[in-house]
């Protein structure tokens, strides 16, 4: 992993993913270390994403590193018409590592080709967000004790949700069974289903969110957004169907944990928050340890 950029979850092999998960556990046990002392990390957020930025910056600070950068494109030379290439070439002269969030898809791959230092993709449009996937994997491993042979339910916007696509790709190393629950309009795209077929991985599709979740080990919730629907009447029909409430968890497995990439709007009722199966806030905390693991691995410090 040393000196390699992390653009897509597919850039990491199974053993590299497991190494990150193992390291994340070590960082959680001992979160304040000086591994990044004398290192400068550039945090380039061409669009605002407070949660992801704070998670990365917390990880850098916990490792004793220093951060330079900007929080949105309006405070960068992009407003003067500077190209992404020029920004990256300049910043890679200053920093040891670049964390980049950009609204355009493919920007992280392009940046990694222009940069003289590794790039960590903190989200490139609807394409990839690999550290989110690594924190999801760490959360699954922590709560289930394993990543192997799990029954994973994904609920909500499976068409546009990049987190479910990346998680699906990463979990394919571990013999999962998937259940996809979504409105017709937001079903898992064919390209991912063809890919699962080619890998021999089982999946089932449902349009109703019912007691089938009694079989789940992981329930991965996502938002169903109004703007994704061509017909607003269709949204009105489904908007309440995909809301998880506490009563729905009565007959679920003891080991079930509910994940959500956050922010939540109304797809998980607040009455779920105190259920021991709710795990989304701890999941967000796990992001700090997963990002500590990624950055220290890429810089060859562990």
């Amino acid at each position: 992993m040393k000196n390699r950029s992390l653009v897509s979850i597919n850039d990491f092999t199974k053993s590299e993913i497991l190494k990150i998960v193992e390291l994340a556990a070590q960082f959680e046990a001992n979160p304040n270390q000086d591994l990044l002392k004398h290192k400068i990390v550039a945090s380039l957020f061409f669009e605002p994403s407070t949660r992801t930025r704070l998670s990365f910056e917390t990880a850098i600070n916990r490792l004793g590193g220093r951060v330079v950068g900007f929080m949105d494109a309006s405070s960068s030379s992009t407003t003067k018409g500077e190209s992404l290439k020029d920004t990256i070439k300049m910043v890679s002269n200053y920093a040891d590592l670049i964390v980049m969030r950009h609204p355009l898809e493919g920007s992280a791959r392009y940046a990694s080709e222009q940069s003289s230092v590794p790039i960590v993709n903190a989200g490139d449009g609807a394409n990839q967000h690999p550290t989110q996937t690594l924190l999801d994997l760490y959360s699954i491993k922590k709560t289930q004790g394993t990543l192997e042979n799990l029954n994973i339910f994904m609920v909500g916007d499976l068409k546009y949700g990049r987190t479910v696509h990346s998680l699906l790709q990463a979990m394919s190393h571990f013999n999962p069974v998937f259940n996809f629950i979504s409105p017709e309009e937001l079903r898992m795209p064919d390209e991912y289903k063809f890919w699962l077929d080619s890998m021999g991985i089982k999946y089932y599709e449902h349009s109703e969110f019912t007691d089938i979740i009694s079989r789940a080990d992981i329930l991965y919730m996502t938002r169903v957004q109004r703007e994704r629907f061509v017909d607003p009447i269709e949204y009105e029909k489904v908007k309440d169907v995909y809301i998880l409430n506490n009563a729905m968890l009565d007959n679920t497995k003891d080991n079930l944990r509910i994940l959500h990439p956050l922010p939540r709007v109304n797809e998980i009722d607040v009455d779920v928050d105190n259920n021991p199966k709710a795990y989304y806030f701890e999941q967000a905390e796990n992001g700090v340890y997963a990002r500590m693991a990624v950055m220290s691995s890429i810089l060859g410090l562990v």
Partner: protein, 152 residues
């Protein structure tokens, strides 16, 4: 009585003849091969009769022999093109084009949110399926199919 044969485009002594180009792709092929900036003698004909296309185009480039890799670049727009290598007015070799595994700087990514459609970046695809032409963008990872394919 023998059928009278006429050449629609004059013969060349040495060089390459690219035949069976769809008529509406002639200028795309010229552009892809960089023939618009080539100093060699070039003759072309278009809207010639063709059983396959109805109308086809043909290009003859004198004293030029292309690398296969260069010729294969035209496969996206002229998948059935035939190449005749001419020496001393005789066809000494015939070739077909095949879609290359990597396609650089020829096609446009269909995804408007792709970085290649927003900054001055050379496009780069890998071939996912040659039968129902599907190209995966090296940058945004989206698949551009034949239906949405645009040549730059």
């Amino acid at each position: 009585m023998s059928e009278k044969k006429e050449l629609s485009v004059s013969a060349i002594e040495e060089g390459t003849v690219i035949d069976h180009i769809p008529a509406d792709c002639l200028f795309k092929v010229i552009s892809i091969l960089g023939l618009d900036n080539c100093g060699n003698l070039i003759t072309f004909g278009t809207n010639l009769g063709s059983q396959r296309y109805g109308k086809k185009a043909i290009i003859k480039v004198a004293d030029k022999f292309f690398e296969d890799e260069d010729l294969n670049r035209i496969a996206l727009v002229a998948p059935y093109a035939r190449l005749n290598i001419i020496k001393d007015y005789e066809v000494v070799e015939k070739k077909h084009v095949t879609v290359p595994q990597e396609i650089v700087g020829i096609a446009k990514c269909f995804n408007p949110q792709c970085i290649t459609n927003n900054e001055n970046i050379t496009t780069h695809f890998s071939l996912v399926n040659a039968n129902v032409l599907a190209l995966k963008c090296h940058y945004c990872e989206k698949i551009t199919t034949e239906e949405h394919l645009k040549i730059l």
